[in-house]
Subunit: 350 residues, 2 copies
Amino acid sequence: MTITIHDVARRLNLSITTVSRALDGYPDVAVETRERVSRVAAEMGYVPSRVARQLRRRRADAIGYVLPTPQPRFADPFFSELISGLGDEAAHYNLDVLVSTAPPGEATERAMYERWARSRRVDGVVLSRMRRHDWRVDYLAEQGLPFVALGHSLNAVDYPYIDVDARAGLIALVAHLAEQGHRRIAYIGASPDLMLQTARLEGYRAGLAALDLEADPAWVAEGDLTRQGGYRAATQLLAAPRPPTAIIGANDLTAIGAMRAASERGLVVGRDLAVAGYDGVGEAEHAHPPLTTLNQPVYDIARQLVKMLIRLIAQEPLAERHVLLQTRVADPRLHPGVKAPAHTRAIEAR
Amino acid sequence: MTITIHDVARRLNLSITTVSRALDGYPDVAVETRERVSRVAAEMGYVPSRVARQLRRRRADAIGYVLPTPQPRFADPFFSELISGLGDEAAHYNLDVLVSTAPPGEATERAMYERWARSRRVDGVVLSRMRRHDWRVDYLAEQGLPFVALGHSLNAVDYPYIDVDARAGLIALVAHLAEQGHRRIAYIGASPDLMLQTARLEGYRAGLAALDLEADPAWVAEGDLTRQGGYRAATQLLAAPRPPTAIIGANDLTAIGAMRAASERGLVVGRDLAVAGYDGVGEAEHAHPPLTTLNQPVYDIARQLVKMLIRLIAQEPLAERHVLLQTRVADPRLHPGVKAPAHTRAIEAR
DNA sequence: TTGTAGGCGTTATCAA
DNA sequence: TTGATAACGCCTACAA
């Protein structure tokens, strides 16, 4: 059925050994032989069986990524951008990307990683959305399965990661809002066991402190990084006796949910209430009005992570084991070339 | 290093054959033996090597999906929902999902499918965003690699698919807008070689014809299914001498881009202009104002596609080879429990 | 009910 | 420079 190395060898009157080495570019093959082999192999449409090669070489030629899906129906552009970055970079190295889905922290998730680790289905793993004490880190380290992460946890184990300085980012964002006159700034966060929550909440508080702004505990709400979560939390915040005039969401989806809550309450976002997010997913840019957001170059981070992982797998040294990126406030009103509708001016109101 | 079936067999003083059969649940194993084997195997943390099994069984235990990424940075929630559906369903069957990325119609894309087909890396493939004459269909059929599709093309080859009756959907959508008093309804489509464009444009036209509404060719614009495309097309439409009062986007991203174009022009969407989309991605629901959209249950479709693909791979008969789903207009204002802000009432204006 | 042995398609070792 | 042969880890026809 499928063409094997035997077929090619037979046709050439050569041994499979020679064919194999010719195709893999070993030096101890006569130039002329190599050419004949490559030509005939191509003619016959021969492609080495990946599985056989994997078994022999004891490599999977694949990396894995588990999509954190809190609910079954799950649509976050942040992750489609992440996956597209992983896929693009992996393709350069002829690596496959295995994508699996699991609700974070549950048994299913553990089962996924165990399957991969035990059956050596992947050569390495990319982690994201790190938890403060992340069992995945300990587990993978213990199993000796290479991994890199988007973000970092508090585990004792050292591992390569790329992180974004969310603390600094939020300080800047708070300052940005304060500059526009806001004094009552709220924050909708995420589960406290997530590192991103730790960093962003800390940044939010530091930002307020730096400017001597009031920090009412009632202005800190917990979301779940979904639009629904943002919607619910914002609804509560806005119904309080002293509602905020600006809301920062821990990610863009949260912010978008908050915008909806605001407009359902009859507030015009950008006039009656400022809403800011974090991610820089394209969605934000096209929100109405455009969302002020902290830009994270997810796509590039994903590609970089794959590069790091590959070096790690090959046991080559890494130039930088820990990368900390700075992020900037992207206020669409400041974008050159984009006309800013008057009503997106965020001002103190109510 | 890793525990193999040999280790387990040795520990039990059994042959690997017996261990293998005991674990795979063959009937010709003594009950007591089976129990001992399972217990010890579990104790030792033995998991069969997937690669070895694949080589032997000549199956990949994986399905593939190529994400259509027109640009490198790519973030469409539609696809993250699709992937999460594929992943969830595949997990039930202990199947891996290989995700690759490629710009549609280019050499890279072809290379991806060839790699998978030739090296038998996957047992089957899920296609989406079908082109009118889709080379993938002919190629995969010729290679004998099982596949199912979200949508269908015009190729002569017959294959299992799930499609959404976009024609009927658009007729309903046009009627819905007309009911609200709109007479100048525009449509922003996609590349004409996409089947979805064929069906949606046809539905749009049929919808207008059914109600004897004017069909000005200038009201049909070409987008590219991205927010940017929707933004550009809408900008042009709105700048025309007789601008439309309602715009239908071929997908939700297009519609969201159009909304931005409108608000930049100083129009209030929902009051001065109605905008409708197609996808039912969560994003739409939380747009501001919520977007009228045709709901496609992508997540469920994805799961159903995996089920079909598995039967196809197992060469079991399919109950239905071609599924045509109906879609309904989801107007957020009609959602129970969600208060409709007055300004989302779409009315004839300008 | 259990074991022996061959083979899935490669790559790697060693000898020719 | 090339070839015979032994793995890689598992499954399965066949024999015991």
